[in-house]
Each structure stands twice: as C-alpha cells, then as structure tokens.
Symmetry: C2
C-alpha cells in the first residue's frame, strides 16, 4: 500500500512556538516529518507561509510531490470552527477569527481540515496507541496549559459549541490560585506548566532555594519541562513538592472525570507528562483511586501516552483521512 | 392507542423513603400513579413486597390487570448492574448485591428492567420535557445527595463500569468540607441537602440564629427542602447565605461540565431545585456564565426541570419501553 498516488496525507501540529508536519501513507505509517519554528510574532500570513513550507519540505523529504497528497489535517491551539476551517481564538498565536484552512488551501491547492490541537492529539493517541479499541477515552494533555480531548462511542466528541474537552478549566479548588482564564482554582491553575512556573517563581521570590536558580537564574526564565525533570533527578525539595502538588491535582481531576464520564481509558500526555512520567504517574493513579467512587474505577486504564510529539501529527493525519473518507481503522504498520 | 392490551408499562421510582409507581400507555401518557413509604428498615424482601403492592395498586387504579402490563422499569438509588438487574450498593436502603429485578419478576410475572435512579430521571426529563430533541444533555439532581445522568448522542451514557453520572462526586473545592464519601470538596459536600443541613447545624451550634430553629428545634431535625424554602421566604440571613453558597457551587459545577462535555442542555432537578428554583437558578446561571470558557456556553440551555417527582416514574416507563423495543420517541399526548 505504499505505491505512489496512494492515499498520502500530511498531518500538521501548529503550536505557539513550533510547527511539525508529517507525511503518512494509507496505513498511517509516518514516512517522514519536518519541524520549523512558528514565529507567531510575524503575524498570521507569515505563519501560513511557514506552515506551507514545512509541509512542502516534509513531502519533498519523502520523495513525494504535493500533487500526490490527498489532504492535510491540522491541529491548532485554541478554539476553532472545524466546519469553516477558522481559528476563532488562539491566545498563544494572538489570532482571532483567522481562516487558516482557506489560506493554506489557496497556497497549496490541497484540501485542508482544521481541528483543535488537543482533539487531534486525542485522536492520534486513540488510533495510534490504543488502535481504536476502547469504546471511550479521555485524553488529558499537560503542557504550558492543560487541554483534553474526548472519545465517546469510538468517535471524537466535539460538543454543542465544538469546545468540549476543556479539562484544564474544570474547577477543582474554587478558593485556589487564579488561572490564566481569570477564574480561581481551575485544574490548569495548579498543574499546568505556566502555573507550576508561577508557583516556583513566587516561592523563589519569597526566598526559598532551588537548583533551578543555578540552572536558569533567579527569575527562572526559560523554564521547560526538561528543567523540572533535571531538578527532580537532583531531588530538589521545592520542585518535588510542586510537582507532587500538580500530580495530586491531576489525580483528583482524573477521579472527577471517572466519576462523571466513566471512560474506558484515561490517557495522559503533553510535555509535562513526557518529561515527568515516572515522577508523576504513581501519585496521579494513587489519587485517582482515592477520589473515585467505589466500583467506578475498576478495570479503567490510566496510562501515559508514548507517542510524545507525534500524537499531534498522527492525529491530524487520521483527521484528514477520516474527512476524506479513506481512514481504515487500526494501525497495520510492521511495528505493531 | 389506548385500547386494552396496548403497550402498557409501569415506571417505578424506588427511593430511600418512598416508592412511586405510575402506569403509562404506549404514548407515554401517565394513566395513574400510587405512592407508598419504602420502610427500608424492614429489609429488602419486605421492600420488594411493598414495591409489588404499589405496582398492583397503580394498575388497579387504572382499571387494568397485571396481565396487560408488558414490562416494569425501575430506578433504584445507588449503583446498579442493569444487565443483571442487581442493586450492587444502595447505602440509603442498606442493600448490597440484591437481585431486585429477579425478585420482583418472580412475584409479578412481568419483565423488570433496572437502572440507577438518576439515570432514569435524566431519561425521563430528556424524553418527557425535552422531547428527545437535544443531541446531548447533562441532568443534575440535587436532593439529599447529588446525582446525575448523561445523554450523549440522544442515548443514556452509562460508562465503562456503568457508573457514569456521579456528578455529586466531582471535586470542586479540594481543600473544602468533607463529603459523605469520605473525600474533601465534592460538589455534593457543598450543595447537597445533607451538606446544607450539616453546615446550618454547625452554624447554629456556634450560636448563629435562624428561623429554622423556631420551626424545627435547635437540632434542625427533619429539615426538608420545604423548610429551606420557608426560611428563604422569610429572608433568613443564615439560610440565604447557605443557599447562595450552594447555588454558587452548582454554577461552578455546571461551568466545569460545560467546559468539559459541552452538552446542548444542562437540566437541574431534584427536591432542592424544585423547592428553591427561584432562589437558586439566577445564581447558578450567573456563575455558570462566569466560569465557562469564552464561546463555550453560547446557546446552551441551563434549565430547571418541571417534571418534579414524575421524572423518575416517567423515565422508568421509557426505560421499560426501550428495553421492550416499543418506545416511540417524542411525546404525543394532548397536553403537548
């Protein structure tokens, strides 16, 4: 099934700092991928050019031509209108009502399908890791913020306003710290990387010590999930206590989702989980078990995603294949 | 369609204190209903006898015979196994692993279908009030505790362990008051009637005054939703502040559900809402709007149920018709 003119698609993961594009064949095998920086400050038109270039480079890398690409799926951060292909609001990109699909299609002459980035990550993890087997899945992605994607009845659940999955803005501590969204006690305000940064920064200003200041300076500028991982390896008390707090909050959020939705699988991903899986997962699972109602959690899998950065491009490729009506469920690559 | 031997079913709402049975025709018109006290302290076998008597009285009340009843639907409090017809755990009844459907069928020789009480209430409200029109609905029922029922893709969502809808045990205040389930800060621990009672009781013990002590004595024994309604009418400061707190928490829970699930309708019901709708709904809606993410709440209906006590029997009747394959969607009675 890798003959030319087969159902090749490109999956794109558009982030606030980087663009990732991967070329996939009909069996969802990744033939190659290319990464570029987003340069969001240059404005949306320039970003569209960069996305187009990233796609063309990836296609060329795989010795294919753009004319052989049947469709492009793209996951964008923020709220999107998938039917119109419009990014409604993306604070990380400073975009509002931008017709991304149309702009990209005009440039590449290939059909473009847009979806929220967490939804495509959920779709990617569901089909790529779980082979589309569970009936339902909740995907939770811990990065700068926290997002999610829901799979009900083996399909992406978009909700009435197509905004479902905003798991980061489930309130778990109504008298707790203020969130980026302006409200108190959102899950994201305790366990997202930006809130972890804010907490660490405030503690350092109060005079607490941490190896992070040696690594990054007193303002902790440029703190990434990797920095936290390094500090955890050195058993830094302030970072350990902060990560434990984030993991506890995540476990409580997982339990709430199990109590309410009772999905077959809860899958955790994103940069924070990727870097800190070993440090966080035991506490997450322990708290999920503690807070779940008796009988509600048995047999439910709570797992860390192993796709990492690939979840987004994989999911975007699956999205494109689904929209084109050429998605064949289940991964059939030799690796499986 | 009301000729004899038509598709008559009986819907039963089994509660901790009362049993309600209603006879329905093929078009979901209620032909008559009968209420009895549960007397749970007499043990499950005695309760089964009382349910059977309640059903027979209701059937007789409608000038029908048991042989004309095609099936019985029953909603029971606690966790149930609908496939096996077993009540797994019902703390209000002090039941554990009780084969209710089988016991009742043995007594009446009619097929019995069991479901969780909040699920049948959701089903009742969805088909009875909303005519099965919205694609999705979250039902939240505020009584002694708080339960819920989810409708996704126009169908009841039971979840992996068939325990979905435990909305009362969504954590919204992780450092907040302790819940009946033993954990801190569940939604139910702030807005359920038992927790409202605990809060009022504690405040009275601390010396705060309320008209409730005049009505019920210093231990507030026998406090019902109706007592709270009376106190609100008299503008009792302690009760007002407690109900406001419960309404705020409910609004936050509604917003979290809108952020995560994004249903078309959020329907609130149960004794607390029935008695205090006018006092609570404005605050609930205001807080839901405040805590929902931008763009996520537009067009979503947040409404109080008008079915009251009938939601349970109506939903149980719908359940029986669905299980028998004779449910015809949409209510067609002359009243609509």
């Amino acid at each position: 099934m890798t003959e030319s003119n087969s159902n090749y698609v490109v999956g794109v993961d558009l982030g606030g700092t980087k663009i990732l594009a991967g070329v996939y064949d009909a069996n969802q095998n990744c033939l190659g991928s290319v990464k570029k920086s987003t340069k969001a400050d240059r404005g949306p038109k320039e970003v569209v050019k960069r996305i187009a270039r990233c796609i063309m480079d990836a296609v060329d890398e795989c010795d294919l031509k753009l004319s052989q690409i049947k469709g492009i799926g793209i996951g964008a951060p923020g709220s999107v209108d998938p039917d119109q292909g419009i990014v409604l609001f993306a604070p990380n990109l400073k975009w509002k009502d931008f017709p991304l699909a149309e702009q990209l299609k005009k440039r590449l002459k290939v059909d473009v399908f847009l979806e929220n980035d967490c939804n495509v990550c959920a779709l990617g993890a569901y089909h790529g890791e779980l082979k589309g087997e569970p009936e339902s899945m909740v995907g939770i992605f811990l990065g700068t913020g926290i997002g999610g994607g829901l799979i009900f009845n083996r399909e992406l659940h978009r909700g009435f306003n197509k905004t479902a999955g905003e798991i980061g803005h489930m309130v778990i501590d109504m008298h707790g710290p203020i969130c980026g969204c302006g409200k108190n006690g959102c899950f994201e305000a305790i366990a997202g990387r930006a809130s972890i940064y804010r907490h660490l920064h405030a503690e350092v200003q109060k005079g607490r010590e941490t190896v992070l200041t040696t690594m990054l300076g007193k303002d902790l500028k440029g703190m990434k999930s990797g920095s936290l991982k390094k500090a955890m390896k050195r058993r830094d008390p302030l970072v350990s206590e902060t990560i434990l707090r984030a993991a506890e909050a995540t476990g409580i959020a997982v339990a709430s989702l199990i109590n309410v939705i009772n999905p077959e699988v809860v899958l955790l991903g994103g940069g924070v989980i990727e870097a800190l899986e070993r440090d966080m997962m035991p506490t997450i699972i322990q708290n999920a078990e503690r807070y779940a109602m008796p009988g509600s959690i048995e047999g439910i899998q709570i797992i860390a995603s192993s796709l990492g950065d690939d979840a987004g491009i994989y999911g975007s490729a699956v999205l494109a294949q689904m929209m084109l009506g050429c998605f064949t469920a289940g991964r059939t690559s030799s690796g499986d």
